[in-house]
């Protein structure tokens, strides 16, 4: 059965790329934007901009209202207890760096930060560097053969010295949901902070953060069909209250003298300087658009398309999947073929997939690979995209094998 996406027509970018002969299968890197997001961006920029939270004038008030409306929408989207639990950042990477600095004062030499072997650099390097600054131990949870964090090992490794657990919800390389409920329970039992990197996971399905019960959750607008330059940092109220301020400047300050200052609490205390106002407002439009979708239909479409992708890859000689992907993406390499050669020939045929280490170098090294090809799907992709991909893959392998 050939799958067509009922949402494809909402994405001028995907249609423009298709008209140019480009098949876009790299949504895990960044997603195309629906018309509603483009309209919101242009609408705000063309109707008179103003800075937020400062001015008394009408344009300032209008911008502030629209900006804060996105905060409420994001809080609803993630089922946060309050919109005060949502901090706007530049992206998941900045959110994680914010946490690594904001929590630094709570960690003592000899204590442990626990991450997993599948973390991409954004959820590895901030913790690695924090561990170096504070003389902490960075513990890496191993994976099982499917690409899930090994819970038995995790139960052994998460112990009384563990002060923080930071793990991905969905791997950007292995495409597997991670066993968050169990991992978070292990962290909670030790009184450790928990950070969930939702950069990939946020896009696939609705996540109830109160039910999940993590202290912090991060994701990025640009993967969520919204503009780039905006990230969301959710923090449970009590957890947010423990964060130290990390960037200083306008708007985050309560009172300043030449020699000292007092700062606002979250969220504004962690949003120094002028934020990405237009992008935040347009993220609101992306969330509205997502809210208007039939989520069951989206989930079915994504699952069916993913099954088609896996079946196609598995039916080809020499193709080796990384782990056992469950949704959204699949990474693979081909025996005897260099992934750079394959990437080269796929690009030549207008196939936009990701090749290389996917910003997860330690994971690749542990799998003994120099890199892999990743095909990732958005809700606008359809069977025809996969047909073009497989045809290009066959052509390329015919030359290279």
């Amino acid at each position: 059965m050939s799958l067509t996406s009922p949402w494809r027509a909402d994405f001028p970018g995907i249609l423009a790329l298709a008209a140019e002969g480009q098949t876009y299968l790299d949504s895990a890197a960044t997603a195309q934007k629906p018309q509603a997001v483009l309209d919101a961006l242009l609408g705000y920029l063309a109707s008179g901009v103003a800075n937020v939270h400062r001015a008394q004038h009408l344009p300032g008030e209008r911008a502030t209202r629209a900006f804060e409306a996105t905060r409420s929408k994001a809080a609803q989207w993630l089922n946060a207890a309050s919109s005060d639990e949502i901090i706007f950042t530049r992206g998941s990477t900045e959110s994680l760096n914010l946490l690594a600095y904001g929590l630094e004062h709570l960690l003592q030499p000899g204590e442990q930060i626990v991450i997993s072997a599948l973390e991409h650099h954004a959820n590895l390097l901030p913790w690695q560097q924090l561990a170096k600054r504070r003389n902490l131990e960075l513990v890496v949870l191993p994976l099982d053969h499917t690409g899930s964090i090994d819970l038995q090992q995790a139960a052994r490794l998460i112990g009384p010295r563990t002060r923080l657990l930071a793990v991905s919800q969905l791997s950007n390389v292995l495409g597997r949901w991670q066993p968050l409920a169990e991992l978070l329970a292990l962290a909670r039992a030790q009184g450790a902070f928990s950070v969930v990197d939702g950069a990939q996971g946020a896009v696939h399905g609705r996540h109830d953060l109160q039910a999940l019960g993590c202290d912090f959750y991060v994701c990025s607008s640009h993967k969520l069909y919204g503009p780039d330059g905006v990230g969301l940092l959710y923090g449970r109220r009590e957890a947010l209250g423990k964060l130290q301020h990390w960037q200083f400047g306008g708007e985050m300050v309560l009172d300043a003298d030449y020699q000292s200052a007092r700062f606002r609490p979250a969220p504004l205390g962690f949003e120094a300087g002028t934020p990405a106002i237009s992008a935040v407002i347009a993220l609101g439009a992306a969330l509205d658009w997502l809210n208007g979708l039939d989520h069951t239909a989206v989930a079915h479409h994504e699952a069916a398309l993913h099954a088609e992708l896996l079946a196609g890859l598995q039916s080809r000689n020499g193709v080796r999947l990384l782990g056992e992907p469950q949704l959204a993406l699949a990474s693979f390499c081909v025996n005897g073929v260099h992934n750079a050669d394959l990437a080269h020939l796929l690009s030549e045929q207008g196939i936009a997939v990701r090749a290389g280490h996917h910003c997860a170098m330690p994971l690749m090294k542990s799998l003994g690979l120099s890199g892999a090809i990743r095909v990732s799907l958005g809700l606008y992709n359809d069977s025809e995209d996969l047909r073009r991909f497989f045809s290009a893959l066959d052509n390329a392998l015919e030359l290279l094998q």
Partner: protein
């Protein structure tokens, strides 16, 4: 400035190449022509960093000019290295520094391979050649 003979040959072959498949085949054939590197030469000292594929580049002074040898673990990149080496072979140092290598890849129809992407090794190789020629 006249083209070295191997470069003329490359230009004739690649500019007559209509599609991506022929271009890929030709690149792989050119890649086979690279002077092999000894195992002892495939070391970190000669690695060009900035490529996701492994690339080694070695320069030797031969009379008036620099002679380059290069290789990679990726086949198409070996082909790209071969047409790059063909263009600069036998040029005196001063001339080497002024060669427009971007223009060279444009002429061959291989300009896409010089995209500014981080994963593209060729820009790093060009950079390294210039450093070696300038020193």
């Amino acid at each position: 400035m006249s083209l070295p003979p191997a470069a003329q040959q490359a230009l004739a072959a690649f500019s007559a190449c209509p599609g991506w498949e022929q271009r890929a085949r030709l690149l792989m054939q050119w890649g086979e022509r690279l002077e092999p590197l000894r195992e002892t030469e495939r070391v970190d000292e000669h690695r060009v960093h900035g490529c996701e594929s492994l690339v080694w580049l070695i320069a030797e002074q031969r009379g008036e000019h620099l002679h380059f040898r290069a290789s990679s673990d990726a086949r198409l990149l070996r082909g790209l290295l071969a047409v790059l080496l063909a263009r600069v072979e036998g040029l005196p140092r001063a001339e080497l520094a002024s060669v427009d290598l971007v223009d060279w890849f444009n002429q061959l129809g291989l300009q896409r391979q010089l995209s500014p992407s981080r994963s593209n090794g060729l820009n790093a190789v060009l950079q390294r050649m210039r450093e070696l020629a300038g020193s």
